[in-house]
Amino acid sequence: MMSTRRFLFLWSLLSSGVFADEKVTFNEHIRPILAENCFYCHGKDPNHRKAQRRLDMPEGATAETKGVRAIVPGDLENSELWRRINSDDPDEVMPPAESHKDPLKPEQRALIKRWIEQGAAYQNHWAYEPVARPAEPPVPAGANPHPVDRFIAATLAARGLGFSPEAPREVLLRRLTLDLTGLPPTLEELEAFLADRSPDAYDRAVTRLLASPRYGENFARGWLDAVRYGDTHGLHLDNVRAIWPYRDWVVQAFNENKRFDQFTIDQLAGDLVPGARIDQLVASGYNRLHLSTSEGGAIEAEAEARNTADRIDTTAAVWLGLTAGCAACHDHKFDPLTQREYYSMGAFFKGLADHVWDGNIPRPGPLVLITNALQQKRLDVITAALPERLAALAAKAERLTAKNPVPEKPEKKPITYEVVWAEDGDVPTATNILQPALAGEWRTGAGVPLVDGTRALRLEGKVERPVNFATGEVPLKVGLLTRVFVNYNPDSANPPKAVSLEFIADGKTKRLIWGDPKAFSPEAADSAMVAGALPPAGVYTRLEIEATDCGLASGRAYTGVRIAQSGGAAWWDHIGTVATSASAADDPLISAEAWAKGIRNDVRAVQNLPLPNEIAYLLGVSITQQDDEDKKRLATFYRDFIYGPLRGPLEPEAHAARQLQAEQIHYELTLTASLVARERAVPKPAHILIRGQYDKPGELVEPATPAFLPPLKPRGLRADRLDLARWLVDPRNPLTARVALNRFWQQIFGAGLVRTPGDFGAQGDPPTHAELLDWLASEFVSSGWDVKRLVRLMVTSRTYRQDSRVPPALLEVDPANKLLARGPRLRLDAEVLRDQALAVSGLLQPTIGGPPVRPYQPGNVWEPVAYAGSNTRLYVQDHGAALYRRSLYTFWKRTAPPPSMSTFDAPSRETICVLRTRTDTPLQALALMNDVQQFEAARGFAERILTSAGTEDKRLTRAFRSVTGRMPTGQEQTLLNEALASQRAHFAAHPEAAKKVLANGESKAADTLPPVEFAAWTMVASLLLNLDETVTRN
């Protein structure tokens, strides 16, 4: 047995990663120790610096202060630092007690000792040095020439280690398929691969899997974690945010193998690329993924500062591996990022045109509508013509209200007013755009008799048709008195025998007939009220019906009037209501506030309000947060389209505008739309925020990138997001390629070459294989940022293909597998666990993309936490195919993420996440055993096995292979036989329980299989889905 002393020695070597004959280097060995223990007081930040001593640069460390030098290269005895870290004197020892740092460990001291002895050479921080392409280590004769393996083998050889043998082929194919597509291989794929003994069989499998659309779905997950994609706003009400087209764009980008530089540019600045396509605009939705709120009391400057900080922090972490947030309040303590530079980065985002508030609506603007060419052409016509019509309407409204303005605060007193709804046409609404035209024609010209306006409705023959009212989607309510009027003018030559009016409302109302009631039908004659004789021909007569007479009580809702004639021909014009409401203040047609309140209180309506998106947005913004411009826009809309007393006089102009506007709303509601970036005409000023406080703005700054990185090359006077994006992917930028490829490496190998993927700074881990990282970075860039090529390089390496068995000796030497002397063994990610179960069950629905789905979720996950007025308070589960989509498409509520995901370490998507932890908890065991999604999948799995041919043994083998890829051993086969036998005996004794087992889940179990047998197999299938080997990729 290893002695403690020897163990200690070995341990210290491993933890410091250096052997006695190796040179101690500043970046690999010393900087992490100094950064952790010394730089806070002896680093870059002058505000915290103690004793005017800097240790982060050689000039400071070797300078003489008060007769001592912290470091004298090569001279341990005279190096004050050495004396201090070894001191027993509490007043002298470093780090000091008040820093709450532990004393340096012996191995750390040993490293510092050797470093000083070797000359105390400083290096710039490795990650900020340009990427140089290291020479590939030589290949020993007969060894694998794969470049990745050369680097890995070189480090292994230095420690007297070598590669593990290659994993068994069936294990390898399962690993590769899971890693590339997030799904297990089918048995057929497995058989084909095992049968293919050609030398390039594995390469062809890689090619096949990289070409699978499943690849993009799988790689999108990691990206969506990093950029914090979610389906809700994330704060306060946490309402729905519909930006899923961005998610689909990410999937497609990976599938198309979009160059990573273009992938970057499209997301940060797709809107600024000359001739931006729709897909680039969708990609620019990256800028809209931050948390947002419309909380009533929130302060705009504070929310705006947070949004900006969120954008800086995420962009810096995702592309640069920088913990930029540390520089929000003061210069970064450890990395060369100043506070000024932090806010200069923020200035790039100050040009964004989106509102600070989300309005609690699904799509706060700016938006892009995802159109085809024809739709776009029509939209362009509308966009060009609508402003003129709106202006004409507003001009008239202003004239009309010059003397009689719309009351700002109507009183809580009864009011009587007249509203004309149909003057020159039917009121078009966004929801009836595609409906067939109603009967009759609104005619104009000589010979058309008019009451008012320029058109009248001509009806000929037996006709019944609605005339609907539109009030911006608040239903009209019957007041103290509500009387609908219609002006009717029958032809002298051919008058109708009867005409009628009828309220359109939920439930039955009585019809009122003029003329011979039997002219409509005997039933009509029986149920209707008769008003009297027909009015004279050739002139207009005003016909009226009263709501209460027709059985519509005060307070009931109605949407219009149905007019009818029994035959003949007539003109109809100037249709409207005279209403007396109990309180002007509460009548949506009189009070803008009442109208807005009515809409806000109707949560369902807010989801898909048939109003212009900008108006729906403004209604969602709390009154206290609307600025003057917002208030004016809302007031104008109300005056021009809703306010009752102006309806008649404004109708010709309103009608003209509404026709186009309704069509535009129709497109906004029915076409897929997504949140995008747009640039404001004038960017908002960017200030340094003193101590990071939004209400303490300091100096103004311009967009700029940190000085320690290569210079930015702006196209114009003021740098913008496109310049920033291009700077990020400039081949001279030392960080982007390293940071990006490190995350891909992490996705494949479970841990990055840099194990702190979000921190490439001084506080992060140095790379385990610095030269390999640089070689790959150089290769990545020079290949044209080819992601699939990079992934192929990784998965075709011998390093990747190693067996993941853990020999005890290796576990002791390298528990975290930093040296990569074996293949990684990882618990599958949350999504993969669910998708795998669906795949083997045959239930998986392969549809790609589209709105998020709501699969099974236990009751009472959203409800106990959500805001009462939130539209994500009640979880309404979907049914049918939506239950079985890939987990990527599961609706992600950020304040209460899906438990089937979060139980397995999926992040909430509230903030950036570039590394998921991997835990193992009893809650996970419960979820895999009992979640109806999992158990139904087990039943589906059992059904597939039971309906396949073969003996019991063959079937068990087939089932085992479906989840592990490999054949069971004899012992395992026996255990499976026993498991089946015991479950069979159990259900034979409990046949009723067997039926219940089969009834789990909404898909129907095959009724051709004997229930006891089927239930026993379901339990075995569930057992197999819970197997350690199944939930792990070996």
Binding site: A298, T919, D920, Q983
Partner: protein
């Protein structure tokens, strides 16, 4: 540190015991024991989900905490911060010298007037020190000799979402670890069958639209997600996915688990990954939770006298009263952190009416919980904390009448009480001005409050840290935080 311990710590913390603060099963112990013995560890040393090395930092007064969070922001003016002098200022404008340009929310920043609304409620003196408490809290009032009431807590956030996030995680920005997760991480669990950190979200009675909760209030943030709070639910499975699927009874489950353990054991022998042993242990624990959790929520063995302490609603699942009794049962089982988040305290209007309802929900049960803990000797080592995320303004939001007013959010001062392990009873700490607007003596920041809570549990707040995003993250923030020694026993 001994590298051998390092190694074991690596295995034990990350792999063997990481289970939501849960212990491992006997079966797994059988697998593990030889291995651990080989490394010089005896079974007596086996802490199940142990504390971090060096934790607690000093002898703790409290072993566990029950945190009663009044979500929405109760009014200090109508509960604990008695301001008799306000009567004469009814409907008088708040002097500008008091507000002194401090920010207010955009809900009232547009108001033309800031009329003072004295509390409608009568206050009386209770306990040995004659502490003033409002008539809204008659039961809590009787317990004042056990309470340390802090009237001078203040926060940085002025709106619910950031304020709740700040209260629970020490930061307004989402993504940080919650108090309970920090305690689970640092102190580990002393219960073999239940999570270390349990969250309850009872129903509430106020008519106002209740503010939302966020799972981030009990999330582990950057800490391993095994330290997430586990929400016990009052409807459906108390713990998610706890119940077997329809038709699967305990014997079928046991048979399945036996087969699973044997197959996994073979897998371990084949693969050599200690993670497999963890998984075996977690499945066993899951199986035990299937009985320990229902046992926990079964009140049938509680005596009528005990039930009476909590008030008539104790037998309705999902009430605050039932949650308090559950909290005591969790405390008995040594669960480290119990958090009850009672919603509905956000009274911008109709404050008198709605606060009556909210206090009726909670008052008797709070006192009942304290009494019950005390009777069982549990209060000595259980810290109980009662806190909202901020206070409310002295001026009325909306119309002020003789019988009605509303109050806006007020971050500059609010009242919090602590009781039990480590806390001195019968203390009132801190003082606000005559308008309960600004603190005039002994301010306590939320960082100070959290530092004090940690102190009671034997944790030095400055040494409870976790490296994330390049920083040593602390619950008590970056700037110095002070333990409020004056309220400690």
């Amino acid at each position: 540190m001994n590298p051998c311990h390092d190694y074991l710590n690596h295995l034990t913390r990350r792999q063997f015991f990481a289970g939501a603060g849960l212990a491992m099963g006997g079966l797994a112990l059988n697998f593990l024991a030889p291995r651990l013995r080989g490394a010089g560890v005896t079974s007596a040393d086996l802490r199940l989900h142990p504390a971090l090395p060096g934790f607690p930092h000093f002898a703790p007064k409290a072993k566990r905490i029950i945190y009663l969070h009044m979500n929405g922001g109760p009014s200090q003016l109508d509960t604990f911060d008695y301001k008799p002098g306000l009567k004469k200022f009814f409907d008088v404008e708040l002097p500008e010298s008091v507000r002194a340009g401090q920010r207010i929310t955009t809900m009232t920043s547009g108001q033309t007037r800031f009329p003072i609304a004295p509390s409608l409620f009568k206050f009386a003196q209770y306990g040995q020190n004659g502490t003033w408490v409002s008539e809204l809290l008659p039961h809590t009032a009787k317990m004042v000799d056990d309470l340390a009431i802090v009237r001078s807590v203040h926060t940085n956030a002025i709106n619910h979402d950031p304020a709740c996030t700040f209260l629970m995680t020490g930061s307004e920005i989402p993504g940080k670890a919650s108090l309970g997760s920090w305690l689970s991480y640092g102190l580990g669990s002393e219960n073999n069958n239940l999570p270390a950190f349990v969250v309850l979200t009872p129903k509430w009675s106020s008519k106002a639209v209740a503010q939302a909760l966020f799972t981030r209030m009990w999330s582990s943030g950057f800490l391993p997600s095994s330290h997430n709070g586990v929400a016990l639910r009052s409807q459906g499975d108390p713990v998610l996915f706890l119940e077997n699927p329809e038709g699967v009874d305990r014997s079928a489950r046991r048979a399945m688990l036996d087969s699973l353990a044997k197959l996994n054991q073979l897998g371990y022998e084949r693969q050599g990954d200690p993670e497999t042993l963890t998984r075996i242990a977690q499945y066993e624990m899951a199986f035990r939770m299937q009985t320990s959790v229902p046992d926990l929520t079964d009140f049938r063995n509680e005596s009528p006298a005990t039930l009476d302490l909590y008030g008539p609603e104790v037998n309705q699942p999902g009430t605050f009263a039932a949650s308090c009794l559950l909290a005591r049962r969790l405390a008995e089982r040594n669960v480290r952190v119990v958090q009850i988040l009672h919603r509905g305290w956000d009274q911008h209007g109709n404050l008198p009416g709605d606060h009556r309802l909210q206090c009726k929900d909670t008052d008797q049960a709070c006192a009942g919980l304290l009494t019950d803990l005390k009777q069982r000797g549990l209060l000595e080592d259980t810290l109980v904390v009662w806190a909202g995320e901020f206070g409310r303004t002295v001026y009325s939001q909306g119309t002020l009448t003789d019988t009605d007013y509303g109050r806006d959010h007020h971050p500059r001062c609010f009242s919090v009480w602590l009781a039990g392990g480590g806390v001195k009873g019968g203390v009132v700490y801190g003082e606000t001005d005559e308008f309960s607007y600004n603190i005039v003596r002994d301010p306590v920041s939320l960082f100070d409050l959290n530092a004090t809570i940690l102190h009671c549990l034997g944790v030095d707040h400055s040494r409870l840290k976790f490296k994330f995003q390049g920083l040593d993250q602390r619950l008590s923030g970056v700037e110095p935080a002070e333990v409020v020694k004056a309220i400690l026993a």
